[in-house]
Amino acid sequence: MSFMPKIKIDGKEYIAKENETILQCAQRNGIYIPRYCYHPSLSIAGNCRMCLVEIEKMPKLQTACSTIVAEGMNVFTSSEKVKKARKDVLEFLLKNHPIDCPICDQAGECYLQDYYMDYGLRKSRVSLNEKVRRGKRRQLGDYLILDNERCILCTRCVRFCEEVTKTSELFVANRGDHSFIDIKPETSLNNPYSLNIADICPVGAFTSADFRFRQRVWFLKTTESICLGCATGCRIKVQHNDNTVYRILPLPNEETNTWLCDFGRMTYKEMYSEDRLNHITIESQEFGLDLDKVFDYIKEVKPQEIAVFLSPNLSIEDNIALYYFASNVLKTENIFIPSLPERKIEDGILKNSDPYPNSTGIEIIANKLKLKKDEKTSEKFALVISSLEIAKTYARDSKGIFFSLTKSDMNGAIVPMKSYFENEGTFVNWQKYARKTTVSVVNEKAFSVFDVMKRLAVLFGSNSFFSSLKDIEKFISSNGIDKEFK
């Protein structure tokens, strides 16, 4: 049994956890203490002094982010003394801060702006020529731009590179009010997680070169979803406006991820690539969105010569649609899953050695439905149905129906597929967490795999295919597939 100290915050009693800080205890109980340098996933620096609180019997204010609770502690988070200290710290922070808000891309999600409105509001007693000038706009890597004049020296970025990626590219150069964030000579800020720095920088000092100036943040809408960049399946927030995705942010959660990798954040870009497919292509000829042409293309092939490969790129629902089409419409036994990479996090952070988002999911399906593993059998078949990426391995020389986001010169019918920012579907990550993507933007020039299979089933004259996603869900649970999910 661990010891649970009783403490008082702003007059109310709380049971704290052993060894937690005042800030954490307050936060758990819905009391917000302003902070800059504190970040729940980084070490405590205690340098910004924004979180000062009053503790009975202590003459000086104490930093809530670093002070561990103790039995009987009586904490005040908004006494006059505390309010004044916050105001003072803000005034110090703004002493050398440029008047950049109108041209700063952080505006709207800036902790200096926010706290100034909440705790500051004091007439400036600094004239412009008194401000220390520092470097502006420096590109420090492929994705990051640093404006040192806006930096409040909270060292979150430095600690991130030291503690999370362990690449230590950044450091605080010089000292006093001439301190600035610098990069070690002959390095660049290109570690695979660099964009997290733009997220954790509380002000507009580090901004994302990808997102900068594309949208004012107050116009953005957010949907919660998952990243399909690898088998880790990080939870994300998709930010979009006017049917366009602008950026991906992490949705921190205890199970999987606090951060995101840069690769994952950029996956949305495939939707907007020049090669995005928006019509059906059969043997290099374009056919708009007419699925009948796909049917015409395959109707002559004998079902025994068709193979269906479930795909770790597709959702559980779409894979089940593929399976059901093969077994109930084509009535073929040629249903396979491809050989799948090993799943592990080699860098100790997030990136999975398996680049597919649903390998675990189709393994579960294969197991429950007793499907065969690949066996590189594809050559025997006249026609393969799968996602394009899998088809690249298994259908090099055969015809096929391939689902793809982008154009391809593969020999077959290439069907434009909705991305999972445009479509909903369940993916099972390497930890067996089943999570759903959400429709963030709408695309009417592409299909979901389920749409296609449903239409083809009709054209094949079958009337026993799933009529809605609900039917697929029923199939999933009646076969006990979802029992394996976390």
């Binding site: 003072d88 110090f92 060292t155 006093g176």
Partner: protein
């Protein structure tokens, strides 16, 4: 009564002839806990500036842990303070002997002397003294067959005042940027390379051999009230005899000033006294004449004993200029991690410079005091306070001179 600068011993032979290295022999016959008790009884307080009771500090070191360290703070970079340098010059072995005893008491086998970079000569003196002590088996493995081993390394600073702050000093020894650490944990629990560590000032450690030889009681009998023992003062300014003095705590400033310092030089008049190094509040001449030189009296006069770096300020010195020089120093030396210190020191310096140059505004005086007030007690280390306190005391006590600068020409500095 003199303890530290009683007999001067440049080399080990002289030191031994003067009774040196007897204290370690006595110490080895005692239990470590007894030594700590003795130092507690002596009432010895840290001479580095903060005045923390030395015996108590040692007693925080966990007895059962390994990898413990003893570090001697010889960074001495505070403007006006130069007493440790004198001590190292005139009596280096007293420091080594004190360190051996302290290390034995806390169970540390490794010691460091972190010495200000500019003290090149003193670093060589210490290296030589360590070499001499090793040859006589006072340092090294199994010292005097006591079973206790202890080695000392000298590490030279690189010019940053902040490295005198004990945890910035530890960072610096570890090869990192000199920045104070967030406390807790205190060095007694997590110190150098993560091990329990005691950091003491040169003067503090050099006092220890006398206490062991003569007993804590004898030491506590010297001085006045809770301020036991003798203290070094380094005196600068236009007095007849500036320099380093060892005096009994509790000596009236007036006596010290008139009898030992010889009063002001011809043609100079006393205006103000900084009793304990640049970071303590200033006393007017009138206030100074009423104090005795000890922790309590100076504290009740609103200032501090500090490091004992006494700066005597003559009537002709412009206090605006003096304060600006101070502010420039602290601005330059702020390590910059805490917001109030990083931004406040430069802000204040700018305001003072403006006032000094006759470009100040009336509200600047209040602003400077308010900024100082807002910095105080809110930072990781006391450097912010070390500027804030003088700012408030100078402006309050010598407002007239600041007004000269705001309203026209200063009769003192002619600016």
């Amino acid at each position: 009564m003199k303890i530290l600068l009683d007999k001067i011993s440049f080399d080990i032979e002289t030191y031994i002839r003067n009774g040196g290295y007897l204290a370690i022999k006595k110490a080895f016959s005692m239990k470590p806990a007894e030594i700590i008790e003795e130092v507690k009884t002596s009432n010895l307080r840290g001479r580095g500036g903060a005045g923390f009771p030395t015996g108590l500090k040692w007693s925080f070191i966990p007895a059962d842990k390994k990898n413990k360290y003893l570090v001697c703070n010889s960074d001495e970079s505070e403007p006006g303070t130069f007493k440790d340098r004198e001590l190292i010059n005139k009596n280096p072995h007293s420091l080594l002997e004190g360190m051996i005893i302290a290390a034995y008491a806390i169970g540390a086998n490794e010691g460091y002397i972190y010495i200000r970079g500019e003290f090149a000569k003193e670093a060589r003196i210490l290296e030589k003294a360590i070499y001499e002590a090793k040859k006589k088996w006072f340092l090294g493995e199994n010292i005097l067959k006591s079973g206790f081993s202890f080695n000392i390394k000298v590490v030279r600073g690189a010019g940053a005042y902040i490295c005198g702050e004990e945890t910035a000093l530890l960072e610096s020894i570890e090869g990192k940027k000199g920045q104070p650490r967030l406390k807790p944990p205190f060095p007694a629990i997590v110190g150098l390379y993560g091990g329990p560590t005691v950091i003491n000032n040169v003067e503090t450690l050099a006092t220890v051999p006398w206490i062991i030889l003569n007993g804590g009681k004898a030491y506590s009998a010297i001085g006045k009230g809770k301020s036991s023992g003798t203290k070094l003062f380094s005196v600068s300014g236009p007095v007849k005899k500036p320099g380093v003095y060892e005096i009994e705590l509790g000596t009236p400033f007036k006596d010290f000033f008139e009898n030992q310092l010889g009063g002001m030089k011809e043609g100079e008049r006393l205006k103000a006294v900084i009793p304990g190094g640049s970071s303590v509040p200033v006393l007017t001449a009138e206030e100074a004449m009423k104090v005795t030189l000890d922790y309590e009296s100076l504290q009740s006069a609103g200032t501090m004993l500090g490091s004992g770096g006494m700066i005597i300020i003559p009537e002709r010195q412009c206090m605006v200029e003096a304060l600006w020089i101070l502010a420039r120093f602290y601005h330059h030396e702020s390590c910059g991690q805490c917001t109030p210190c990083r931004e406040g020191t430069g802000w204040i310096e700018g305001i003072l410079k403006r006032i000094l140059q006759g470009k100040g505004k009336r509200e600047d005086l209040n602003n400077a005091k308010e900024i100082a007030q807002n910095m105080m007690g809110k930072t990781i280390c006391p450097l912010a306070d070390a500027l804030a306190m003088p700012v408030i005391s100078y402006i309050n006590k010598f407002e007239k001179e600041f007004v000269y600068h705001l309203e026209g020409k200063c009769p003192l500095c002619q600016k």
